[in-house]
Each structure stands twice: as structure tokens, then as C-alpha cells.
Subunit: 162 residues, 2 copies
DNA sequence: CTTGACCTTGGAGCAACTACAGGGTGTGTA
DNA sequence: TACACACCCTGTAGTTGCTCCAAGGTCAAG
């Protein structure tokens, strides 16, 4: 019982901001650590492991709620793992869908950027013209060059549901 | 002056949620429309055009702040357009960077998913083993198969700065 | 005995919406 | 005329995953 780390050390060894660690604790992802006499958080190796696990999952872009579920499986190894597979597959489709629209997006932006070559006034700027035309539904360079999708997908910042 | 639309119509014809329209107004992206005697918002064709412009830019995943700047160029066509080019280029690099890490991510998830084949208990689940191993820094299928990046990039939900 | 690095809590703020409560308006129909 | 119902209004709070801040406690070195 000498390996107890304080939050700063844990942050250092995992590369995680201490505010983020406290946030994980607050939201129940990371277990409440012991406290030393002065009230400081005292972490053991199990916390380091768990935090690394969380970060690895986050690097896979999984939502915290999913990570929480995975952690439950880790805690409870007797449970049926069907859910895990499901969870990863869902994440994979999310990523693939996003990837697809990102590719279209890149094409469009590239086309757009190519329509502005030199310094001139905004009224002569190809980019601006393209954007305005696009808004009016006319063919624009970005749509001409785009693979198939007319508009990749309406902003889709709704990863937090569905 | 009979083409005035109410918010519902504008939403319908652009495919934008009315809450979102009001949000755009509140944050200054969309100009305050006239109000009819009953206090309802009365939009003209210029609003429709502007809103379409915004949505097209959002479909290109541009942050609202950037769109605001673009709109200023639209309003003020005499300005030098150097900034526009810059803006699009920045957006393009953002997208490309994200694309790159998403590709690595897809690889990793694919590898992960392949390590779970049938129904069994969590303690025997390949996915879970891989994840735990990965967290411990050991080689795991996802890292073995990944192209170059060990970890694609720490969550990087910090697009709102840098 | 003060400086400085570290730790504590609670709360606010970021993007870009989304949802809701609690109310007003306006049209169609019984 | 009464009522339902679709639409509109405002304002506020919630979402995700952090990030930052203020105001203060702890502890070792100089």
C-alpha cells in the first residue's frame, strides 16, 4: 500500500487531464478512489488500468455511455457477451457512416478551394459564388465533383441519440 | 409582399427544424425577420436563401462562427476574399485530419469485432480481452492491424480550439 | 514564514442544437 | 358559439464530453 498515486500522477501516466479524471469520477465511469488523510484522492493500479481502458475506448470514439456498459462486462465476466459484440458493431457502423460522409465532404471542400485562386474582392470570389449557388440549388463545383451524395448528410451532430 | 412565410413553412422548405431556425436567429446568424401583427415571424425569400446558405455550409461541417464570417463576406462583396480561401483551407485540413484518424479507427474496430465470433460469456469474449490488453499497452488485434498510428488521436473533441 | 506546486469543491461555459413548459393565435367544424 | 387542434410565441434547461475558473486547503523547500 505504497503505490497510491495522487491525481496529478495518474494524469501524467495516462496523459489524461486531471479535470477529465474528476469528470469521469463524477459521472461514475471511474470509481471513487480512497482519500488520504488530507482529503487528496489516492489511486491504486486498478484505477490506472480502468482509466487506460476508458481512454482506449474513447480513442475508438465510443460514447461514455457505451464505455460504461463495457466496464460492467469487465466487472461481471460471467455475463453473456452478446451485448459487447452489438456495441462494437454499432460503433463500427457509426464510424463507417461518418467516414462515408467525410469523404464526400473532402471532395466538396477540395473543389471549393480550387475555385479561388488569387487575391481579389469577395464579389469575384469563386468560393463564395459556389456557396451561394449551392444554396440556391444550382450546380456548383462541389456538387459536380462530389461522388453521389448531393448533400452528404444534414449536419448529423446527433450522435447522442438514435 | 405576399410571399411572407411563417417559421413552419421556412422550416419545411429548407428541412430545418424550427427550433434550429430560432436558434440561428438568437445567435445572430439569421437576421431578425419582420413580425406580422400577431407577433409571428414573417420571412421573405432572402431569409430562405440565407438559411439555405447556412445549411449548405453546415453540411460542409463548418462551425457556425466560420459561417458567420462567410456571411459577412456575402454582405460585403467589396472586401478582400483572402480570408475566405483561408477559411475553406482550414476547414479542409480539419476534415482531412479527422478523416485520417477515422480510417485508423475503422480498422481498429473491424479487427476488434472480428475477435468475437459467437455467443459466450464475457470472460471469454475476444473483444473484451483485446480492449483490456490494449489498455495495458500490450499488442492487441486492433493495434496489430492498424496502419501506423498506435492510438489514432486522443479523443480530439477539442475542435473548438487550436 | 512565505512562496510555490499541488490538491479540494462547486459552478459556469463551449458547440450546436433539442426539448419542454406555459402561454397566445387562428381556422374548421359540430 | 364553442371547442378542438395546429400552429406560433418566449424563456429556460438539458444534451455530450469535457475545460476553465474562483476560492480555498496542504505541504515541502528556501
Amino acid at each position: 500500500m505504497k503505490s497510491a498515486m495522487r491525481i496529478g500522477e495518474l494524469g501524467q501516466s495516462t496523459g489524461v487531464d486531471i479535470e477529465t479524471i474528476r469528470y469521469y469520477e463524477k459521472t461514475g465511469l471511474l470509481k471513487n478512489p480512497e482519500r488520504s488523510s488530507n482529503g487528496y484522492r489516492a489511486y491504486g493500479p486498478e484505477h490506472l488500468e480502468r482509466l487506460s481502458f476508458i481512454r482506449h475506448c474513447r480513442a475508438l470514439d465510443m460514447p461514455l455511455a457505451d464505455i460504461k456498459r463495457l466496464l460492467e462486462f469487465v466487472e461481471n465476466p460471467a455475463a453473456d457477451c452478446g451485448g459487447i459484440d452489438q456495441l462494437i458493431s454499432t460503433q463500427l457502423s457509426r464510424v463507417r457512416a461518418r467516414l462515408k460522409s467525410m469523404r464526400a465532404l473532402e471532395q466538396q471542400l477540395t473543389a471549393l478551394r480550387n475555385s479561388c485562386d488569387t487575391n481579389h474582392s469577395a464579389s469575384e470570389c469563386g468560393i463564395l459564388h459556389e456557396l451561394v449557388a449551392a444554396a440556391q440549388g444550382e450546380t456548383c463545383a462541389c456538387h459536380r465533383n462530389a461522388p453521389s451524395a448531393t448533400t452528404p448528410d444534414p449536419p448529423s451532430d446527433k450522435r447522442h441519440k438514435e
